[in-house]
Symmetry: C2
Subunit: 350 residues, 2 copies
Amino acid sequence: MTRRDAITVKDIANMAGVSIGTVDRVLHERGRVAPQTAEKIRRIIDETGFIPNLHASNLAQSRTYRIGVLTPLAEQDSGFWQLPHEGMKKAAEELKPFNVTLLFCCFDRFSRTSFLEAGQKLMLQEPDGVLIAPVLPEAAEEFINSLSEKIPVCCFDSDLPKSRKLAFIGQDAYASGKLAAKLMKLMVPDGKRIAVIQAVRQDYHIRDRIAGFQSAFSRDECPSVYVEEQLEDKPTRNKFLLGILYQDPEIKGIFVSNDSSHLIAEYLRSSGKTGISLIGYDLIPENSRFLGTGDIDFILNQRPAEQGYLGIQTIFRALSGQPAGEKHIVMPLDILTAENVAFYPARHLM
Amino acid sequence: MTRRDAITVKDIANMAGVSIGTVDRVLHERGRVAPQTAEKIRRIIDETGFIPNLHASNLAQSRTYRIGVLTPLAEQDSGFWQLPHEGMKKAAEELKPFNVTLLFCCFDRFSRTSFLEAGQKLMLQEPDGVLIAPVLPEAAEEFINSLSEKIPVCCFDSDLPKSRKLAFIGQDAYASGKLAAKLMKLMVPDGKRIAVIQAVRQDYHIRDRIAGFQSAFSRDECPSVYVEEQLEDKPTRNKFLLGILYQDPEIKGIFVSNDSSHLIAEYLRSSGKTGISLIGYDLIPENSRFLGTGDIDFILNQRPAEQGYLGIQTIFRALSGQPAGEKHIVMPLDILTAENVAFYPARHLM
DNA sequence: GTATCCTGTGTGTACGTTAACGCAAATATT
DNA sequence: AATATTTGCGTTAACGTACACACAGGATAC
């Protein structure tokens, strides 16, 4: 509770035999300082380990930070995108003293036009940084390239390896598939069959999940992949699943490579099929429910709320001149099941 | 990047027709304000939703926060206590602009005297708040009671239900036991036997874990509990485990109710026993290693680093006058296995 | 040779809050 | 009744940084 006595610009100025104005100009690289003077000041700053007082700086500047967010519409993917949004809002809440404002711009994840429109709309609001879920890789890449170099960009959920960016925040999709395979093998007796369901075609990390899953099996027992992009449509879904299970009655495990496992669970339950183990992704409310009832055995979670939270924090750090962290922030692969799902509330960010 | 125009004490003062000094006195309940005036100011603050500028406040005060930390010695429990320490340091790092200093005081977890000594030593340094791991419940309770009411206290790891405290940060031990049972049942064939190992006698949450584990079994298949407090000692350990496995060769699963599973894994490996599934607690380096080699099947993690992090944050929030959060901060029950352990670095706090 | 521009530097005010201090008026003490 | 204390309120100097402005001296232009 006592006073502290940290070093200040004034101290630096005294040591260098100049005024605080000159030190300030060096600190902010605003020019108008003689090269030798600047060098001397920089040396002293280095030696003393001087760090400008955050509060004084903020008080004097009272600048605002506008961070743009580009994600699919909140209601798409069974409401999945609400989860990262929650995390972003929490970050914004914590950063309130720093005047951080979020500019949410959502797009239809199946429409390139919609994405580009959202991007344009966002840029009209002049964001200082952008956080983006590049589910439409090419369009997102194009968008990032069109941005000024000064605007920091962060990707989350899926990566954009070739684009300029501060960091990618997400899970290791391949490893998550391997993990799913391990759990599946625990549940499905030897000799029985396993099916993989792919509900999205283009997404890279969906493919990685499937590749990881299959990598855990030998060639002759490798599970088949069934693709159906219209799972949301009930008649289509029923026909699709009936077809799979009729064709191969030995299937005792289903791996769903995205958030749609609740749709499969609902089918299995309503059609009275039992004894089929089910593993899926993403703790959206519907999946959470079916975990509780035991219709889904495991859900792998990629901490979407945390991804959103970290995305905002990372961009803020860059904007406020703090040193950049890692280029790839890897999310743990959380295993969710009936017995622990209650302890993973969406808002649990820490 | 524009200026903002938040409401200030000056605005409040103008609206109330008083000076900023009076408003400040009301804000800090420093007295010397006429009751009606104070009431009026409070009303206006409420109506306008005024929040004092954090930075200005901090700049003017530049106070320091000293937070005391009481935990067992870092090297005890196979180095477990280093993990919460890491989290605390990370929190301190983030709170550096607020002049937060940590005062670590460690004690021997088996010695009441040692604990009381550590407590006294801590109090000599006049901490503003205390974070404590009450592994010695009675002594800890006594210590907390001896503290001034003004000093906020937080418990983590295990709880102290009867003591005054800001919050308890920890997992639901009973639920974690149930979860372990579910995983164990997946691995151990029906009809085979399971053993429970208890390495610590006094700790409440160890008992809860065991109770939770047993609750998942019917009376006649309920696993037996074997107690041995000297597991660290190799000859004792070997004799103990040999005894168990000799006496009951049908044991195909072992549930270790604390961080000692690596000791069991080492025995099983060195004695050539295979086909015995192993579940334990806490991601200390040794356990992490045996997870990787497949000698331990699952580790349940209680996010110790995060507990430390949240403990410091919680106390800081109280000290800096921010509203208190929940009384019980529940940690998720993370399931760790060979396939995902790499993504749970100790420092992964978010 | 004067007018204009640039360079390098110092000065001063603002940011919003805190808390010490000052000073009347009201109240208590003797 | 005189003196001491308390109450209620205003004033003001920090806290450390940012940045606009002032200003002297040198370079450049005409």
